[in-house]
Symmetry: C2
Subunit: 374 residues, 2 copies
Amino acid sequence: MKQSEQKKIRLKTSKEINDKLVELGKKVIKQLKDYENPSVNIPLRSLSNVYFDEKSRMLHLGNKTSDRSYLNLSQSKSFMQTMLVASKLREVIKDGSHFGLRQLFYMCKGGIPGTKENTFDDQSESDIIIEDIEGLLSRLREEIGIFAISKGKMSGDLKIVDSGDKIDCGKLGSSGYGIPSIVEKGIIDFDKTSVDFVLVVEKEQTWNRLNQDRFWKRKNCLIITGGGQPDRGTRRFLHRLNSELDLPVYVFTDMDIWGYYIYSVYKQGSINLAHFSENAAVPDAKFIGVKMSDVEKFNIPKSHWIPMKKIDYKRVREISEYEWFKTDKAWQKEFKKLSDFKHVVEQDVLVAKGLDFMSKEYLPFKFDTKDWIE
Amino acid sequence: MKQSEQKKIRLKTSKEINDKLVELGKKVIKQLKDYENPSVNIPLRSLSNVYFDEKSRMLHLGNKTSDRSYLNLSQSKSFMQTMLVASKLREVIKDGSHFGLRQLFYMCKGGIPGTKENTFDDQSESDIIIEDIEGLLSRLREEIGIFAISKGKMSGDLKIVDSGDKIDCGKLGSSGYGIPSIVEKGIIDFDKTSVDFVLVVEKEQTWNRLNQDRFWKRKNCLIITGGGQPDRGTRRFLHRLNSELDLPVYVFTDMDIWGYYIYSVYKQGSINLAHFSENAAVPDAKFIGVKMSDVEKFNIPKSHWIPMKKIDYKRVREISEYEWFKTDKAWQKEFKKLSDFKHVVEQDVLVAKGLDFMSKEYLPFKFDTKDWIE
């Protein structure tokens, strides 16, 4: 994509968000002029308002909202905070630069004249308000220019334009491309690519191993990691690779309930960021392993199993009850087997089977025999 | 550096380490043949054996060692573990590939025939043994090819050869160059550069902000972050920039005791990795801020100060007693002022002063007036 086109996209986004923020402000001013109690209507993000949408096969927010009004003792402070953050976000979007969540916290933190109160005491408060505003505007904080810590990495034959720089992700040595927190169109764009698919790897250490083995070259794919539970940037980046470049996605995690849930987050979104799913989920992602049948198939010795803890069993019970897993026979079987097996098998174990076992035997076998869960 | 030269360096390192491992093995075999109690002599890494060397101005290990022998009930297991890890490390070095600490743990984990014992139950055990072996061989695990999680980032006009790929760190968009865990000569090498210095930034969010402002371009420098308390890769990378390219280093942290200690780790090394200082410390690094005088100079409002906690005061007392700080008048003053001030001022606060205040006013002023602590 040309720089001029990228700029056009950025300007369009800024204008749309600016208009929405102005509209929000005008609404509150009108309420004041009409002697009404100023209030805004915020989509509820609690579990009770999260549902699994069968059609799109991802988590969505329902229609429940809550009023946040100024003349209400329990809401007055958060109403003030909402207005304050919204006004700072407008400065940010007009400036066009990007800022961190911590930096936004300080932009909004201040004393309230005539009191000993602060507008914000802790970043956790401003983080919540920003998500509220995402709901209010139906736009993402990334589109506004607010970033968090990033931790994703990617390598493979894909050329990216990032902030005007053309980057060849097949020529980044042992480092790979560090997936930024903000990966919006107009800032980061992809060239066409001839790779066949994306392999998502749970852990950075496994990604490193595969990157050093040039697995992406051997299998003509991209390899990505979100470093455990993935950050928003990595999820959004993967979503764009899948939806814009039409690349199938395979997820490779530990054989434990936490790894399975990481797969679920990549696939259908996360409960606490359900409003983000549409921009981040990959509903047709497949699970390539490690799964129960691998233990026997690849003869993984008992000394490499790690005993499950109480909290693991509890989490298996919880997750197997989630709507999108509850009716899925393959996964119900997998959960049952895991609980009976009483042990965890990490992806790192495969390295111990032989120094290049993972990239030369295990993964090729899985792909060749289509040994995955849809 | 040419690829053939890089290969030569790698081969030389491998050979040296392989020879040392073989020597270690032969020594133990000789002890067995001579009916002696097999034992190895490991440098002590506890605080009692760490000292600040006035001449090199960094932390070093002293001469104390401890015997680890097979025929000793309390040492037998760790002796076995040491031999086991050493033998796996020899496989690693012969293979020439890199492996993660977790992967090495699994390579060494196994049942002991005829018992219910495992060689290793937890990664923390193998991590310690690897550091022991670093001491035994006087070589780094990175040289052997063992990596950990990485978190450093860098940008600026520097060309790097990383695993055969030539990377221009001035053309990596918002992402920057992700500093790998292993940054040894022969794997990662630098071209000549015309930049003037390196600015080390404590936090990734601040680095992001400066990177977006192209601060490195404006001040003709490199900007690096280790993401809080830096990982070994970032420290070693910085050390090489300083020692091989002769670049002065300035460290920019929060004004709190944790930030000051991060500076200290970059400068003279860390207590728990004293054997690593020689390869990682930058004794002439300067501290550019945030410091006490900045609060008044830049009129940082009280609402942006964060009250110090009990643990902060305790840490100030501890750190001000460290040898390398104890005789340093400038730092003793700074510690005293901090305790009296009773508050912390983070580097993010500077962004709240104005969207580009940090990169256009604060930092340029600090450099122009040489307002740093040596």
